[in-house]
Every structure is written in C-alpha cells, then in structure tokens.
C-alpha cells in the first residue's frame, strides 16, 4: 500500500517533486519554475514544514539532504527553494550567495553552483 501511495504522490506532485533535485533540473528544465509548479495547497496545508511531506514523497532527496552538511546544520528546504508563493525547484543562485558569497563571486561563470556541488549532497565536489 505504501508503494502505491508513494507512486500516487509522485504522479500527482509530478514536476515539482521531481525537479526538486536541482542537479537534474539544471540539465532538463529552465532554471526556475513559477509558483504554480507546486500543487495547490490550502492555507493550513502550507503550514506543514516541507520536509514533513517530502520525507515520504521524495525519500531519496530527503535522505541526501538529511545526511548532508545542510541537513546536519538545519539548512531547511525553504532557504534555497523559497516557500509556496515563490517556490523555485531550481534555486536562484543569488540565494546560494546569502551564505556562499565568496564562492559565488569566484565561481566559473558558465556553471551553476550545483554543477560542481551536487544538490542535496553538497560536500562532494564533482
């Protein structure tokens, strides 16, 4: 039943949940998605922390994040991806610069941050 449920979730959440992995997104989709990419939620549902649903809906992404330096240091989903109204499956790189400005300024201009630092793992340099 759990497998069916997850498949159902993934189908329904389609684009947003799959492109939540920016490494994939950078190669296959535009750099950001409009707010409507996330399935519509009620105001109450929007009070649910992202990880609470994504733990089950995108378990691989969740595990990668949880075991990464971002996960250990509690850097949460919304810090990179925004919240429902301004959600970006693939973050704006200026958001990375909030914490990584020195690296952002000296990065190769033809690459995205996650081309070298895989999204949700981060510590592995490709």
């Amino acid at each position: 039943m759990k497998g069916q449920f997850l498949r159902s979730c993934i189908l329904v959440l389609a684009v947003a949940l799959v492109v939540a992995c920016p490494a994939w997104a950078s190669k296959n989709t535009p750099s950001s998605k409009p707010a409507s990419a996330h399935p519509e939620l009620s105001a109450q549902e929007k009070l649910t922390p992202c990880s609470q649903c994504h733990k089950d809906a995108t378990p691989t992404v969740y595990k990668e994040w949880y075991n990464s330096v971002h996960g250990i240091d509690n850097v949460k989903c919304f810090q990179c991806h925004g919240t429902y109204e301004d959600i970006k499956a693939s973050p704006d790189e200026a958001t990375c610069a909030s914490c990584h400005n020195a690296q952002y300024m000296k990065r190769p201009k033809n690459k995205k941050c996650w081309d070298c630092h895989p999204a949700h793992y981060f510590f592995i340099h490709k």
Partner: protein
C-alpha cells in the same frame, strides 16, 4: 489502494497538528530575492536574532531593504547565515504592514489605544514618571531593557535612571538568560566573559557541549563545530551532555543523557576521574589556581577539595544521574576532556537557567582549571550568549541593577563615585544599593511598589517564568507602563503608552556578541511612519523630566548629546562617552574601538582594545595571555605567561569551587510526576513577535508542541498530534504532542516562542531563581500531562493591535 494527495498531506500534517481550514496569515510573501548586480547599495551590519554576532550585508534598492547576505571576511560567521539571518529584512522599513508607526496611548488599560503625537507621548511619559517619583520616591520607577537593544541605548537609559532619577532599578532580560554565566565567570576567573574566542572552534580537539542545543540556538556557530568534527572525524571528539537528545546530538561521539537537575553531580564526577587518574595539570594548578568554598569564599587546600570530591564516584553519580549515564561513560568523557590537545566547553541556558546556575558554571570552569584547558589554542570554557547584545550592552554597558558601565559594581563606593565624576554629576547621586533584580522588580510591580516602568525591546508578559502571576501586576491600573517596541506583543497589551521604535538598520548602534566582539550597524533604511531610535526618545524624555522635577542634573545626563541628529551623530556621541570615558582603563577597554575603526573592519573589535592601533587588528583574541592581550602585559606581576588580572580576584588566581550536587527547586512527585523543560527552536526568536511575521519561519514551526518520550506516550496512550494538557502548580497549556526520542523518559519539553494563551509555556514554568545570579530556573519544574483529545484544529497566533 493509494491515498490522494490531499489525504496524504492531511495525514502528515496530523503529525504535529490537526487541519485548520480557511486560515489566512496576515503576511505576504513578496519575492525580494535579488542579484548583487541589481543592488543600489549594500550595508554592513550585525544579525539581530541571536548572540552569535553574524555579520551580514543588507541590500537596499530604491530605499527599500530587499535581501541579506553573509560577509565572508567576518570572523564570527565567515559568510554563513541561518534562516532567520537571511530573512529578517522582511521586517524593515515599510516591508511589514504591522510595524508600530505612531505613539499610542490610553489612560486606563481597559480602554482602547489612540494615536498621539510624539510631543504628547513624551510629555505623558515624563509627567507620569515625575509624578510617581514625587509621590512614591525614586525607587517607585524602573527601566526593564533588553539584550537586543544597542549598547548606546542601554547606556543612555541607565545613565538617566541612575544619574537622573537616582535609582538603580535598571534591569534587562539578560537576567533571564546570562546572569548565571556572569556569576560563574566572576567567581571562577575573576572577570566576566569568556577568555577565548570562536577562533578556538577550528583549534579544539574536544568539544564538551552541555545544556546547549547549539544546532538550533546558535546554528552558524554549530556549523563551525560540525565542520571541525567532519574534517577530523577520528581525532576530534564531541561530547553532548543533555537530558534531551537534540539536533546537536547528531555530531556527538558520546551523548550523556542525565536526569534534569543532576548536572552538578555529573560535573563533579568528571572532576573525580580527573583527580583519581591524575589527569590534572600540576603546574597549572600550582601557578594559577586556588580552592574556595562557601559564601565567605574560604580558601581551602587541594586535599580538602579531594576529600570533597570523593563523594562523587562515577558509580554513585551514574545512579544519581539516571538516564543513559554509566560510570564508564563518565570516565570516558573525563578522559577525553583532560587528554585532548584543546578542550572547548560550550553551554547556554541548560546550565544558566537553573536554581544553581552559578554553581553549574563554576563546576565547568573547575574542569578547565584542573586540567589547564585554558588560554592555549582550542582550550576554553565558553558560555554561548543568547542575545545579540546581552554581553556588549547589558553586561558591559551597565544594564543590570547591580552593575554600572564597564564591569563596575554599584556597591563599590570608589567605582560608583568614579562614574559620577565621569558623568559630571554630584557625588552621591547614584544610590549605593543595587535596585530590584528582574524577578524582584516584577514582584514589586505586583505589590504596587513600582508605579511606573519603561519596558524596552522585550516582552516580559510572555518571557517571565510563571508569567500569569506577573501579568496580574502589570494589569494594575495604578502601574503606568511604557513599552517601546517594533511590533505588538503580549506586553504591549498591558501598556498605557506604546512608543514605536526603529529596527536594526533603521538606526545606528553597536552590538557586542558572545566573544567580546563589538560590531557596528549603521542606518541604511528609514524607519516606517514615525518610529524613532530609542536614544532620541530617552534624550527628549530626560529633558522633559528635568523640567517636571525641576532637577538640572537630569538634563546634565544628556547634555553631551544635545543637538545631535539621532540617526548617527547621537549614538556616536554616546558610544564615544561610553568607550573613551567609562571603559578606558577597565578590563573591557574599548577606547580604541571608535566608530571610525569599527566602520573600517568587516566584523568588529574584541576587547580589551585600549588603542586604535590594536583595535584595527581586531583586538584581543585570547584574554590574559602575555603577547596576545595588551592588558596582560601591562598588568603583569611576574614572568608567567598567563596573567589573570580580572577585577574580582585580587589574588590573580583562578578559583576551583567546592560545590555540592543540588537538585531543582521543584522535583516531580506523585501529583506532578514529569519534569518540564523549555527551550528555543531554530526558526523562531524568543516570543516570535518578529519571526512569526516572516511567512517562511512561521510556516516552518507554526505552533509550539510538547515533546513526549515514546515510552511515556505508550504508557499514557498518547499518539502524535493528540492534544495534551500540561499542568503545573502554576498554570496549564494544551498543546499538540510530538512523540519523539528527544527528552528522556519522565521528561517533557516545550518550545517557548508561541504567543497563543494555550501554548504559552511560561504560564506553566516556575519562577524559582538562583540565589546568587537571580536567574530563574526555566529549565526544570514539575508537571503532569494528560491526553485530552485527538488532533484538533489549530492556528498560528500573533498579537495584533486592535483597530
């Protein structure tokens, strides 16, 4: 059969709370994200939302605050920010519609507020305080401030109260969080504030983290510890001692989960092992240490200390501590602590907010003195501060009832008269007796002894323990309350006069963070409406008070600041007086740290910084070490490398204290069988009047909940999301349950940020306090819990101004 998306989300939402339909938050989420290249300008400043002192830059476009980013050159945060630091620009200027913008007044607290002019507001404030002084005496008025106010603000408030209104009724919320750390540093090392710096994070080989959920309370400092551990997995050890498993425990090699209130026994048992296994540093002890006991600070011998510590065998203490503690774990922790190349202890409210918080601080320092784990790279006994300016403004600036600026005790005639001379006011103007400490102050409000109080930048109606008791006093119609703040709070609900203040980056001033570092934030955007900097308010109020009381000395207190424009020149003049006159020659000498110097540096200056030349290098990284600390060289009495010149220990020794185990003021019993503990969550700051208004942060943690150990939950039939009644002898909450292997069995834990009356846990906590530091024991009291229902609809709650 699969679940629909909606069913799925509802099910997951029920983990913490029931579904609530139709809720709309009074906050928008305009997308402010911006690229550096689009910026009009970037402005350096300090984060507002914890004691780490993260340096950041505010991006301003067309006069509007639009983004924040870390400063990579900063020695505090190295460019990193937490979610609060990234997002608090959303509260600045006109970004948030609920900012207080006009003075509001009501003669009686049962009346609605009405808008008034600043002229009228300052007249009312001065007339009410003057009337009270004339009728009830100088000790019937009080100031209650904040570790979030700039140093300039705390300094001018306390100057006018002490020198002008002749009362030491000057307190602030750091009494609730850091007073025990002050007591610990002064009694153990002879001087307040840590010896070392954050730079020890990258040099330590062992971290002893006790009573601190660093990962949530100081996330950017935790990142440095985490990085040190991850880069040196086998050689760097992390010991986490806490009754609750927290996100901090994730990097621990050893978790010591002791029953609440048994910390003193645990620390003494570690000392036992250090003595028994001869892990102490004989040379260090011989050169720098003494042993003391009792109220009279009686000097005793090493043998006497050894005889005292004999009672704390690891086997016996393991039984006292309960939890997962074994004698082997205590031995292992002591061994790692003593043998490492550099051990850094870190603690915060878990140690300070205890009825024996000063003793607990002393016992951590004992371990460092015994082993000589001080003054060398990576070795430090380091208290983490909760608020951005608890150290700089309140501990250093004279913001508590017993201390004058620059670590001078009120009760010392010589020091008090020194301050009077420096201020140019008559000798004897400052009363020799300390004023009411925080808990006594609000007790005095209850009893009607304090008739007029100015509360600045804090919300005691929510943050005091056992707050219902003190809210009764604050509701009295014969107590006139001024509240200056940026948003409505549980305390503005009890005010007569609300004064809208400028927020950080809307005014200029200095914050002094945990590591003795002072950092300047210069105004970058305009405050909304008629909101004003506090320094302007106090100056104008003092001038009116002087007239009302026909007392020219009150005017004298603000005379050096007359005619200065309030956004930069006025705070600069106040900082100059404080640093050049008051700190010069003191252990926190900041006379080299002028505004010009602070503006040149990416971060700031660590005191002592007696010259501009020294300040421009960043100041003093490690105190008391010759060659590193200019005062250690200046005050050297011998050839030893360390010179402990702290003002409280004329013998220049570090004191090892004989402190016995002492449990909390209230132990669980048959009627209230659980320990209740409280703490902070990463997404919110204090009473959430700010972070609750940032939509991302509110959504991340919209309600407080009660953490229940799964074994207790099973025994009591509690499931995740069930509504749980938490009752103590003082009050009651009803919160959703989080069933979680966090708190140890027999203990529950509640976050304290929620403003909802049903989830405001300080209605339940106990107002017992440490007899030395007067800091309350927020961390432990007895309660009972009961499942009252399954999941119920809940909504986030914030105090709003009634139209």
């Amino acid at each position: 059969m699969g679940l629909s998306r909606r069913e799925f989300i509802k099910r997951t939402a029920a983990l913490t709370a029931a579904s609530y339909a139709g809720l709309s938050l009074p906050i928008s989420n305009e997308d402010y994200s911006a690229h550096a290249s689009d910026a009009d300008s970037w402005h350096k400043g300090t984060c507002r939302l914890c004691g780490s002192g993260c340096r950041l830059e505010l991006e301003v476009k067309n006069g509007k605050a639009v983004a924040l980013r870390g400063i990579p050159q900063s020695r505090t945060n190295m460019g990193y920010l937490c979610m609060k630091g990234m997002l608090f620009y959303k509260l600045m200027g006109n970004n948030h519609p609920e900012r207080l913008k006009k003075p509001l007044y009501r003669a009686r607290k049962d009346q609605p507020f009405r808008e008034i002019s600043w002229d009228r507001a300052l007249d009312i404030a001065s007339k009410e305080f003057a009337k009270t002084v004339k009728k009830y005496g100088n000790n019937s008025v009080a100031y209650y401030g904040s570790g979030q106010a700039f140093t300039e603000e705390t300094y001018i408030f306390q100057k006018v109260m002490r020198g002008g209104l002749k009362t030491n009724n000057v307190e602030g919320n750091p009494r609730l969080c850091m007073a025990s750390a002050v007591g610990g540093y002064v009694t153990s090392f002879g001087a307040d504030e840590p010896i070392g710096s954050y730079s020890n994070f990258e040099r330590a080989s062992c971290f002893f983290i006790i009573g601190s959920n660093t990962a949530e309370a100081h996330p950017v400092l935790f990142r440095r510890i985490m990085r040190r551990k991850m880069d040196n997995k086998d050689t760097v050890k992390v010991i986490n001692a806490d009754p609750r498993v927290s996100p901090t425990s994730r990097i621990a090699d050893l978790h010591l989960q002791f029953a609440p209130g048994t910390d003193l026994a645990l620390l003494n048992a570690m000392a036992y092992v250090i003595l028994e296994d001869k892990l102490y540093n004989e040379d260090f002890l011989k050169n720098y240490a003494d042993f003391r006991m009792g109220k009279k600070k009686k000097k005793v011998s090493l043998q006497k200390y050894m005889a005292f510590i004999k009672d704390y065998t690891p086997e016996k203490v393991a039984r006292i501590c309960g939890g997962n503690i074994t004698a082997d774990k205590i031995r292992k922790a002591a061994l790692w602590f003593a043998k490492s190349e550099g051990t850094m202890s870190l603690w915060t409210m878990g140690i300070n907010q205890r009825s024996r918080g000063v003793w607990a601080n002393n016992l951590i320092h004992n371990l460092h003195i015994l082993t000589g784990q001080l003054c060398r790279p990576g070795a430090d006994s380091f208290s983490l501060t909760g608020q951005p300016n608890a150290c700089g403004g309140v501990r250093e600036g004279g913001g508590l009832c017993h201390i004058l600026p620059a670590h001078r005790l009120v009760k010392k005639n010589k020091l008090r008269h020194q301050v009077e001379r420096l201020w140019g006011i008559p000798e004897g103007r400052i009363p020799p007796k300390p004023g009411y400490h925080t808990m006594a102050m609000f007790e005095a409000v209850n009893e009607g002894k304090i008739k007029a109080i100015w509360i600045n930048c804090t919300s005691p109606a929510q943050s005091l323990p056992n707050c219902d008791k003190y809210r009764k006093g604050m509701r009295r119609e014969d107590v006139f309350i001024v509240v200056s703040d940026i948003f409505p709070t549980k305390t503005t609900e009890l005010a007569n006069l609300i004064l809208p203040t400028a927020f950080i980056f809307e005014k200029t001033g200095v914050y002094g963070c945990t590591e003795r570092r002072s950092q300047l934030t210069v105004k970058a955007v305009n405050a909304p409406g008629e909101a004003k900097p506090e320094v302007w308010m106090v100056r104008e109020w003092a001038l009116r008070l002087s007239k009302e009381l026909n007392d020219p000395v009150i005017k004298k207190c603000v005379e050096p600041f007359m005619g200065k424009e309030p956004d930069y020149e006025l705070p600069k003049a106040i900082w100059e007086e404080y640093t050049q006159k008051l700190t010069k020659g003191r252990d926190n000498d900041l006379s080299g740290a002028t505004y010009e110097v602070l503006e040149k540096l990416p971060d700031g200056v660590q005191w002592p910084a007696p010259t501009k030349q020294w300040a421009l290098k960043g100041g003093t990284d490690i105190k008391f070490v010759r060659g590193l600390d200019p005062l250690a060289d200046k005050y050297a009495k011998n050839d030893l490398p360390y010179q402990f010149y702290g003002p409280a220990h004329p013998d220049r020794k570090l004191w090892i204290w004989l402190r016995p185990q002492k449990g909390p003021a209230e132990m669980p019993d048959s009627k209230y069988p659980f320990y209740l503990s409280t703490g902070r969550i990463i997404d919110h700051w204090h009473t959430s009047s700010m972070t609750g208004r940032i939509i991302e942060l509110m959504r991340a943690n919209p309600y407080a909940y009660v953490e229940v150990n799964p074994k207790d939950a099973e025994r009591l039939g509690i499931k995740p999301g069930d509504m749980i009644e938490v009752v103590s002898r003082r009050g009651r909450n009803i919160l959703p349950a989080k069933v979680y292997v966090g708190p140890c069995e027999g203990m529950v834990f509640v976050y304290w940020h929620d403003e909802d009356e049903n989830r405001m846990i300080n209605r339940v906590t106990k107002d017992a306090f440490d007899p030395g530091s007067k800091e309350p024991e927020f961390k432990i009291c007895a309660c009972r819990i009961k499942r009252v229902s399954g999941p119920r609809p809940l909504k986030p709650f914030l105090v709003h101004m009634k139209a």
